[in-house]
């Protein structure tokens, strides 16, 4: 093992430093001794004898004669049962008062799963929230972001789903988290007793940018190992926009040509290689990923939510404290909602179509047009739908939610007005 020490720094730009060294491998780790203490760094580019290193703690305080010692290995994270109940930083250092764990080190950012070894997702994850269970069912091994804007209760929603979902292990990756939010997650998991089956990797807003980049990789590498031990793992990532912004910061420092609003051209591939870790292993465990993506200015065409939407299997769109039916989508719901109850799909489609008509009527109403009979029916329906289905605090099992749906339809419409096939209305339409 070579552990050569280099003293001469050729260049310092942002968090990237350049040293002249040989025999260094791409992706290798190094220790950088700066004025403010020791930091890890990773090789990100080689050019003849020039080695470009990204310093995890940032370039601030690095002097031109800083000592750089190469470790001869790539980034690793410990993995064992002892991780459960523990909290770490973005580079794997304990954030709680527990001891450091160094046993059984595993590589992060490992290879992709062979598609031939994946299986079709088949288990519904029940959350008790009608907007999810009924309209956009969450499925085990799904990757799903929550699109939202700053100020919305997305972390609360994330925590609520995490606590209700039946999983074996919860891995939380916090990126650029406010310190308060970090404490919120910790306390929430602790109160419900879920902390003992959770691992947290938290980068707070005040920590160095580069550590933020490591969080998803570390969290997912650990999750993958648990999943291979037949565990059902739920990974919570918040907030992926911070992750993308860190990537942008580093790319620009490296003088890469930006593609869209300053983000690097490989934003899609970078996000995809993380989200695609969601998997249901044939004959073993699974990884389900729920991630928060805040949309700057509530703009879904912003590069981060836009690229995310193309990668993930749908999204929950959280607005005004409600999961909006338009813009929200679970692509995997078809895998499970044919096995819940006969009327699930019909209720799901019809209620949304009618809600869409209700929105049009609202527009007409706001412009002062006369309301027809049909419009009045829709207005009545829309109000009931929002109050009894959309409110996030409604917590009922799916079957109850379906019954409520029929009740609302029956109170507002004649069966033929709903467009539901006759054989279903005959069976489910509430009598009397």
């Amino acid at each position: 093992m070579q552990n050569k020490v280099y003293h001469r720094i050729e260049q310092i730009t942002g968090s990237v430093i350049v040293v002249k060294a040989d025999g260094v491998i791409n992706g290798e780790l190094a220790q950088v001794e700066a004025a403010h203490g020791m930091s890890l760094a990773q090789v990100i580019r080689l050019e003849n004898e020039n080695v470009y290193l990204q310093v995890f703690a940032g370039g601030r305080g690095v002097s031109t004669d800083t000592k750089v010692r190469f470790l001869g290995r790539t980034m690793q994270v410990p993995f064992s049962e002892n991780l459960l109940g523990r909290i770490f930083t973005g580079s794997g250092v304990p954030r709680d008062k527990g001891p450091a764990i160094t046993e059984n080190m595993i590589e992060i950012g490992g290879p992709s799963v062979n598609p031939a070894k994946r299986i079709i997702p088949r288990n519904m994850v029940r959350t008790g929230i009608p907007m999810i269970d009924l309209f956009n069912t969450l499925v085990e091994s799904q990757k799903l972001p929550i699109f939202s804007v700053a100020g919305e209760p997305y972390n609360e929603l994330l925590a609520q789903i995490a606590l209700q979902a039946e999983v074996d292990v919860i891995v939380l990756g916090g990126m650029g988290l406010k310190h308060d939010d970090y404490l919120f997650f910790r306390d929430k998991l602790d109160e419900s007793g879920a902390l003992s089956r959770s691992v947290m990797f938290v980068h707070t807003a005040s920590d160095p940018t580069v550590e933020c980049l490591l969080v998803p990789d570390i969290a997912l590498a650990v999750a993958e190992k648990f999943a291979l031990q037949d565990k059902r793992v739920l990974v919570l990532l918040t907030d992926m926009t911070n992750f993308a912004d860190s990537m942008k910061e580093v790319a620009i420092t490296m003088e890469q040509i930006p593609s869209n609003r300053g983000y690097p051209g490989d934003l899609y591939s970078q996000l995809a290689s993380r989200y695609e870790k969601a998997v249901d292993f044939e004959g073993s465990g699974s990884i389900t990923i729920l991630a928060v993506t805040t949309m700057p200015g509530d703009d879904v065409t912003h590069p981060v939510p836009d690229n995310t939407g193309y990668i993930t299997e749908g999204q929950f769109y959280l607005k005004n404290g409600r999961i909006e039916p338009f813009g929200s989508l679970s692509r995997l719901k078809q895998q499970v909602n044919n096995r819940t109850r006969d009327d699930h799909r019909a209720i799901m489609d019809t209620m949304i179509q009618l809600y869409s008509s209700f929105k049009e009527t609202l527009e007409k109403q706001s412009m002062g047009f006369r309301m027809s009979d049909w419009d009045s029916k829709l207005l009545k329906y829309g109000e009931r739908f929002e109050a009894e289905m959309m409110t996030i605090t409604v917590n009922v099992p799916l079957e109850k939610a379906l019954d409520n749906g029929w009740r609302i339809l029956a109170d507002c419409f004649h069966p033929s007005e709903t467009g539901i096939a006759t054989k279903l209305t005959d069976k489910f339409w509430p009598k009397g």
Binding site: D22, G23, V24, I25, N26, G27, L46, E47, N48, E49, T74, G110, P111, S112, V113, N114, P115, A116, K117, R118, I119, I120, L228, Q256, I257, P258, S259, N260, P264, G265, D266, Y268, S269, A272, E276, V279, S284, V300, T301, D306, N307, G309, Y310, I311, E313, G314, Q315, F326, L332, Q334, D349, E363, F369, R370, S372, D373, S416, G419, A421, T422
Partner: protein, 578 residues
Amino acid sequence: MSENIGKIVGVNGNLLKVEFNMPVIQNEVAYACVGDLRLKAEVIRVRGNNAELQVFESTTGVKVGDPVEFTGDLLSVELGPGLLTQVFDGLQNPLPALAEQCGFFLQRGTYLKALPRDVKWAYTPALKVGDVVVAGDTIGTIPEGLFAHRVMVPFKLRGKWTVDKAAPAGDYTVEETVAVLKDEKGNTADAKIMQIWPVKMPIKCYAERLRPTESMATKLRTIDTFFPVAKGGTFCVPGPFGAGKTVLQQIMSRNAEVDVVIIAACGERAGEVVETLREFPELTDPRTGKSLMERTIIICNTSSMPVGARGASVYTGVTLAEYYRQMGLHVLLLADSTSRWAQALREMSGRLEEIPGEEAFPAYLESVIAAFYERGGVVRLNNGTTGSVTIGGTVSPAGGNFEEPVTQATLKVVGAFHGLSRSRSDARRYPAIDPLDSWSKYPSVVDQDNVATARKLLRDGNEVGQMMKVVGEEGTSIDNFVVYLKSEYVDATYLQQNAFDEVDSSNSVERQEYVFGKLLGMLKTKLKFASKDDARSFFHKLTQACRDWNSNAFQSAEFKQTEEQMGKMLAEVSDYAE
């Protein structure tokens, strides 16, 4: 093992800079050696005695000074029996075999042969000694699933060749020589069962290219009737995320009336490929009675697989398609999504520090896309039969904005445009193909004039709908209001199709002709209503009846009964005054 060895002098992401001494070829394949691993790469630029290579794998662990072997071959695929039913990655590695060898994960540096070498195929010769042949002519046949797989004179041979030796009927492996050919100058060439062909070069062993005129039925009403695709045509499906691009492609891959379907999943979700992978073997192809997988090849380079191989996957797909076309078959290539491939080009262009074009895409984007779609087409082969490659590509425009470079470059070169709209998918109107914006240059399965009539009604209805938003229902005449309701009816019962209903999900051309005829009859009938509410309630009922009709098997007793019921409903409100 190659003699030509270079030395790595720089690593930047998946781009290597390599110093070389002997000649190298642009786009040749090279292997970077890292310990025991050999990572496949392609030469993409040469400057002085430095070659720049894009590596198809992660470059972690590569160091300056590591050797690189240049092979002298362009990036190629193996062509021969055994391709159908397979699942390959972008570089034609068979994924199930890879899974057997490596387990859950894709280990880098492991490459397997695309065609199994130990399988023996029952070969029947079609030539005898003394016959004169040209490239692409049939030497013999091998039964492969549904087809007689033609073993052909190597595509790379030029001019006329005489058969010198011909192997008798028997069982052979793909590497065995089945004919020896001789040209006028006395050069000889061995023809093996398997051929190797560079993916970026079109196979051109045919008599002439024809104009695509024959419709390729997809059993989707919106497409076949309104925006048809011809065999040998090209089409694109742009749409924002969540509008149903992939679902639409999946439906087409099941229903399309072609001989072979090749699915190139390029930089998209692995889960979607898995659905096809697991479901197709279980599904029956109504045309042949066999499993759908028998006519399918899947090329998948999903979003988390190495970016470099992403571009290769669409070329691998189209080369396999051309190969089966050479056998006189009709092939459909579905590429999902071409935007990911364009992004891979952009990533590489950025690493090469080329001057960026619009949205940082390279300036050569348009010509690359055009050259790809131009590989589609219907051709008359040397033996008089025709074969075709139909190419359908999805486009994932950033922000759902069709003005972006990839969509625009694609629209210029395709024959049909199925634009998906967010507003339709939000309203759960599937398939979300926008009936006003989309277009096709190919002939419809029903009468073209009638389609024009229906499209006019849709446009008029939309205008009335827009107008009503401003002037309200009370400001709209009842005649206009009925036009609006009629257009909504066409949308609800003809354009929309329930992909989960066994009957409704696929409509034969025959059924489309029949139902469209009925629909047109209704559209042309003048209807009379006492009030707008009456009109609305009539159309609500008619829509529901027609949806029931859509899920009745064609010409079944139920079908006829519902039809009669709808006829009666219509008769009650028909205005016979004129």
